[in-house]
Amino acid sequence: MLTIENLHAKVEGRPILNGIDLHVKAGEVHAIMGPNGSGKSTLSSVIAGNEDYDVTQGKILLKGKDLSGLDPEERAHLGIFLSFQYPVEIPGVTVTNFIKTAINANRKAQGLSDLGASELLKKIREKSTLLDIDSKFLSRSLNEGFSGGEKKRNEIFQMAMLEPTLAILDETDSGLDIDALKIVANGVNKFKAKKNAVVVITHYQRLLEYIVPDFVHVLFGGKIVKSGTKELAHELEAKGYDWIKELA
């Protein structure tokens, strides 16, 4: 599904990613862990096509298709979804209008006509119930005045609505209390299927109790320095990141 080969990237001339290799197959959940500043968020931004970052070497392939040079919207049309660590507030656009615009933009790219209002409403109802989202929430301005938990739930709600093939969750657990964390994890677990894949980016092991990864990778200094199974996450939780720094 996702293949990253020798990926190097810079922001404002500063190298952040220094040769990342990653292979994610359909049906898998990968966790990328690492201390602050290791390049976790940069990796997710680069995959999603953020133009602030320059890819200087290597490539990213989704289902064999090279993503280099593709706009963020084109990547989204291919099935990439990024759950933002800090979702942007957009006063004046309701959650519903936003999701409708996004769904129809994706359908248009696939040559499909707009989703009918009743179908859309049905889907909204189904997914919002799953994430315990109140209908009042849907007519509020996108992320404006949302609590940290509401923002993250809204990200997962968008994921559930857009049904991507590759979902990247960037620090989705930050700012969540345990109840919100369970709801969000439940949303992700319901989404998980044979035909899609999930990459969870996190500092802590906590989220991985609820979204169980098939593989865990440790990022440090812009490189994956260690890979393993979920036990690696436990090890990191117990020992911290210092021993990883010595591996690099």
């Binding site: 409708k100 996004a102 933009a105």
Partner: protein, 438 residues
């Protein structure tokens, strides 16, 4: 003959034929002298630095329609907010249209300025309110005063809630090759009363029209006045709107100005206070293209303690359009605990579009909260990336962001159908397709 000379000589011919109250005649005569002396404002005047009337007044306009134009209801229905359920005071080429209007004297007066200026039963109201807050010095207001004849007259007595919104609409039929209109409105809202007013000026054909309008609004104690100005005229039409508002204690007066069209628009909006605990709200959305020009000149005069004013103007300018915002806040020494807020945010969508924004704060009191902010910017790139990462193409994402930026001002619009209509107009203008609201 220059247009100014024409205005002065036509006044003399016109004055003879009118049967007005003496006080009105006196006001008109004095005002003409002011206009005669000052003439049209030029760019040398500080408050007209960025807006030139030269091209506009260097033209010969008809001052009165030569014959009465009639308009079919079906031609203009789309300009009404509601078919029914509003009071309507409608003019065609400056002449009252009883056919299109729906006035009342039942519990409140929604009628004509010409009636108020001539009938004895309104003498007291006219003597108390007419030309009392409109500027005696400003030349365009004086010009309007000297030609005062017709417009809307609204009187809401004490403890009365106007059940229906009032629409004041001026149509220009296009029957005259060009037209200079000078409507005069007087609105008096007595203690504990409420009213909602919608005003628009609309040309039906592509002919040069200039409207120099003056409105005086009095909000008495505990009164609520919501005034909505819809400026979405053809690009052959220009508007100079002079609105003066006086508020008594505990009153709330809001003016929302939606400038989405027209050739040149100048909004002079002035607020005066006579008591404490007043709230004054001034909001505007301006979305222009082509060579359109809109100038908002606002002034809130805080002369009493414990009052609040909120100004929030947003502008979106594309192509070669021009925006001007000149927002004045004056806080007198006695006006302690004033809370005055002013915000002017602009987005330029093209290199050739311009905006001049000038906040003017004069504060003589020491215990006040006054803030102002002005931004002239491009798109927020981070927000743009967020939208694009959801599959929304760049162009649509930009349009959606622009729409969101403007739409935010609509939150304080209290009439749902007006809100919906303007929301739709903004979306259409920016190329955003919004299907439905949940």
């Amino acid at each position: 003959m220059e247009f100014k000379e024409k205005l002065i000589s036509s006044y003399l011919a016109f004055e003879e034929d009118l049967d007005l109250l003496d006080s009105v005649h006196q006001n008109r005569a004095k005002a003409l002298k002011v206009f005669e002396k000052k003439g049209f404002p030029s760019k040398k005047d500080e408050s007209w630095k960025y807006t030139s009337l030269r091209a506009l007044v260097n033209f010969d306009y008809a001052l009165f329609p030569r014959s009465e134009a009639s308009i079919e209801l079906k031609e203009v229905k789309k300009y009404f907010l509601y078919d029914t359920d509003t009071y309507k005071v409608i003019f065609i080429d400056g002449v009252y249209s009883p056919f299109l209007s729906n006035t009342t004297h039942d519990g409140l007066d929604v009628c004509l300025m010409s009636a108020a200026l001539t009938k004895p039963k309104y003498r007291n109201l006219i003597n108390t309110y007419f030309n009392k807050i409109a500027s005696l010095e400003e030349s365009l207001t004086a010009l309007n005063t000297s030609y005062t004849k017709e417009g809307a007259f609204i009187y809401i007595p004490k403890k009365t809630v106007a059940e229906k919104p009032i629409e004041i609409i001026h149509f220009a039929s296009g029957k005259e090759h060009s037209l200079w209109l000078q409507p005069r409105n007087l609105i008096v809202v007595d203690k504990n009363s409420q009213v909602q007013i919608i005003e628009r000026h609309q040309s039906l054909k592509d002919h040069p029209v200039v409207t120099n309008s003056v409105t005086e609004v009095y909000a008495h104690e505990e009164a609520f006045v919501d005034y909505y100005k819809l400026q979405n005229d053809l690009t052959s039409a220009s508007l100079i709107d002079n609105t003066y508002i006086q508020q008594a204690k505990n009153s709330h007066a809001s003016v929302h100005t939606f400038s989405l069209g027209g050739k040149l628009v100048r909004n002079n909006l002035r607020y005066y206070h006579t008591g404490q605990h007043i709230l004054s709200t001034l909001k505007g959305v301006t979305i222009l293209e082509g060579r359109q020009h809109v100038d908002h000149s606002t002034m809130v005069h805080h002369s009493h303690p414990n009052c609040e004013s909120h100004q929030d103007y947003k502008g979106i300018f594309s192509e070669r359009s021009e925006g001007v915002f000149n927002g004045q806040i004056l806080v007198e020494k006695i006006a302690q605990k004033t809370n005055a807020f002013q915000q002017n945010n602009n987005v330029l969508l093209d290199d050739k579009a311009t905006v001049n924004s000038k906040p003017q704060l004069e504060i003589y009191a020491d215990d006040v909260k006054c803030s102002h902010g002005c931004t002239i910017g491009q798109m927020d790139e981070e927000a743009l990336f967020y939208l694009r990462s959801r599959g929304i193409p760049k162009k649509e994402a930009k349009a959606l962001m622009t729409y969101a930026f403007a739409n935010n001002v609509l939150e304080s619009v209290k009439l749902p159908s007006l809100k919906k209509r303007i929301n739709g107009q903004i979306a259409r203008k920016l190329g955003v397709n919004l299907g439905f609201e949940l």
